[in-house]
Symmetry: C2
Subunit: 407 residues, 2 copies
């Protein structure tokens, strides 16, 4: 652990611990929970270990789960449990909600508070920390990073992303094989990502193994429908089949979301219908080609089959590191991941002030997208590969030996 | 192998073998290919082993792949290779196309012809067989069953279905956990199936482990939108989260396909857009609830992560059985699977005349759907469980110990 934020110095104080989940789950969010619980068990300063049932909703309703009462073998299961084992929520706190949160912390003598979430959650976490400071209530508040979207600032990447990237990589490769194994077909794959294209970019991880054309469109660049149709026609004319990977939050040059249902969630974010279906319909209407849209959606964040081992290990470690930081007296910080990729991938946890990550969306760098805006460049693959920890499947070369080489 | 169809008696004739794929791939179609290739290698009557590149398209264009030239270890890889390793197609043959197929068989001295497909392909296979008989060209024609849809008649089930069922079961359970881990949410999951609900029904395999409500709608029953909305409101009001599993081919009481894009494929089948998105939009518009639609689509037939071991073994065996039947002198038949489930699941291959399975769609039995038309009954689970070979995941009980039991 590096970095210094808030006051430091081992608290030595005895008190209880509360951990809450915010926002959508990841395939490894429960591994962070396990890491925090098991680490807390090693510190006699920490008494009871509570989980908030359904995130801040559980804090309001005073519905805390006694996690310390769960058997050790049950806790170990958390590493491979999808969704959120203690429940999460998307409730955005109003200003007058915060005192109620503080009341709950006081009522249960919570001296160690951990909030595991993304940039919305880190804002909530920061506000709770500041209110506690103003009120003179002593509680160590530490954020634990989590988001499949990888749009969290202040960290090399967020736990959850590596598994979502692995899911995207295998899904794209397998659909590419499907598209190549029937005469020239178009398949549009929609992956998660409102404003950041990190997950969709990972669809390119196995690009070198794909026997068909592959176009990728991220929400960082507005989609020009005319140029898109030119891209599609050119790629299709190579007669190898065509996979198109797009983000759910893709917008057109007028700023309109392609999959906008017209409905907003509690944070004002657009509820997306189907960018992929929209584009498949566009292709069919304008080119006469047949196109299919696939949208695995939430499966990309809940499917255990593609959990990344590296992601799993890191998620556990940031949960444990948060407890260590709190016991050491850190406050008002989020645990971060500091990574190096040369000569080999290594990482360690760090700390960043909550205020520096709250509400900030880290989008995908333009320099990792090709000049044409329809493909991903090699530096991203170097960034992402160790996180997804996805070995190239042995099957990938088969179609080259048969239907591809036969041309 | 049981059953007798066409002429029998070991042919003893030396000749070449051709195998072709028809229609969409399955996660185990290449295992049947491996079974046929390896079994053919044991018979000196069979000379060269050819695969048709892109199904009947390859026969027309005289693009045959010399499968006998592939190394043994490459052939073994077929068991875990997704999509179609030799290519498939959806071309529906016109009457005047058949003589061209026969010309190709003669040109390459094909005396053993295998067509691996569903009910459309078995019709094609039957017509090739009959034309060969009329023309006096001696060739053993045997169908190898394959379809994720499980709508093939004359067989307990079709290879490919078990893996698609396993994918549906895990996808539904994991989405159910996601839906239950955020305060009362509605998720609509669309699974493959034009007219038959077999795959969607498998979403109920882990029903007993689901911590949320689950409604299931198959295309065998017309969807009444008003009744559907009543179902949704009632289920949602139990405040446990709600998963709704639907088939892509779901129709309303007026006979209109909910996901109809207005486009037809070569067989006249509807190209489906999104039944799930349609229903999610309906829920949002009529109830004010927020609903998300997910459509993994083709991932359900190409994803290797959920390949069923039983399905894999059976797919290999029916490929091998087809070669054995042909060498034995059987003709004009499809290999079938005859299964028993009591006292334990056992199966053996059989043979059925192609004419009895061609173009017939075996739909899901009404008596395995609950009287309300929104759920699947236990007898189906007994039918499907051994095919999907899906052990209940250890994680499934977790939410009961935390967010569910805490209510």
């Amino acid at each position: 652990m590096t970095g210094k934020t808030g006051k430091t110095g081992k608290t030595g104080k005895t008190g209880n611990m509360l951990i809450a989940h915010g926002g959508g789950p990841t395939p490894v969010i429960n591994a962070s929970l396990r890491g925090a619980i098991e680490q807390a068990g090693r510190h006699k300063e920490i008494g009871n270990i509570f989980g908030a049932r359904f995130g801040v909703e559980g804090i309001f309703k005073d519905e805390l789960i006694n996690l310390g009462a769960l058997a050790d073998e049950k806790i170990r299961l958390l590493s491979h449990t999808p969704a959120s084992a203690i429940g999460s929520c998307r409730r955005k706190l109003a200003d007058n909600d915060y005192p109620l949160v503080l009341d709950c912390l006081k009522r249960h003598n919570i001296r160690y508070f951990f909030y595991n979430g993304g940039n919305d959650s880190m804002d909530t976490c920061d506000k709770i920390h500041k209110l506690a400071c103003r009120s003179g209530y002593e509680v160590q508040v530490i954020g634990i990073p989590k988001t499949v979207d990888n749009d969290l600032a202040g960290t090399d990447h967020a736990p959850g992303y590596g598994s979502a990237a692995r899911y995207a990589a295998f899904s794209a490769l397998e659909l590419a094989l499907d598209a190549a194994s029937l005469p020239a077909r178009v398949v549009v794959l929609e992956l998660m990502g409102r404003n950041a294209g990190w997950i969709t970019a990972a669809a390119s991880l196995f690009q070198a193994l794909m026997p068909c054309e592959h176009l990728v469109y991220l929400p960082e660049l507005a989609l020009d429908r005319e140029k898109f149709l030119v891209d599609v026609r050119e790629a299709y004319d190579r007669k190898r089949g065509l996979l198109i990977s797009v983000s759910e939050g893709l917008k057109d040059t007028a700023g309109a979301s392609l999959g906008d249902t017209g409905i907003r969630d509690e944070f004002g974010h657009i509820i997306h219908g189907g960018a992929a279906q929209h584009l498949a319909d566009l292709i069919m209407a304008e080119t006469g080609l047949k196109a299919r849209a696939e949208k695995p959606g939430l499966l990309g964040r809940v499917s255990m089959a593609h959990q990344s081992p590296t992601d799993l290990a890191e998620a556990y470690a940031v949960g444990a590191a948060a407890v260590e930081a709190a016991v050491r007296g850190e406050n008002g910080s989020m645990v971060s991941i500091e990574a190096e990729r040369e000569p080999a991938y290594t990482w360690r946890s760090g700390l960043v002030p909550l205020g520096l990550v709250a509400n900030i969306e880290k989008t995908f760098p333009r320099e990792w997208i090709n000049p044409a805006g329809n493909g991903i460049l090699a530096p991203f693959l170097s960034y992402c590969a160790p996180l997804a920890d996805a070995p190239a499947p042995s099957y990938a070369s088969f179609l080259r030996d048969t239907i591809i080489s036969a041309t």
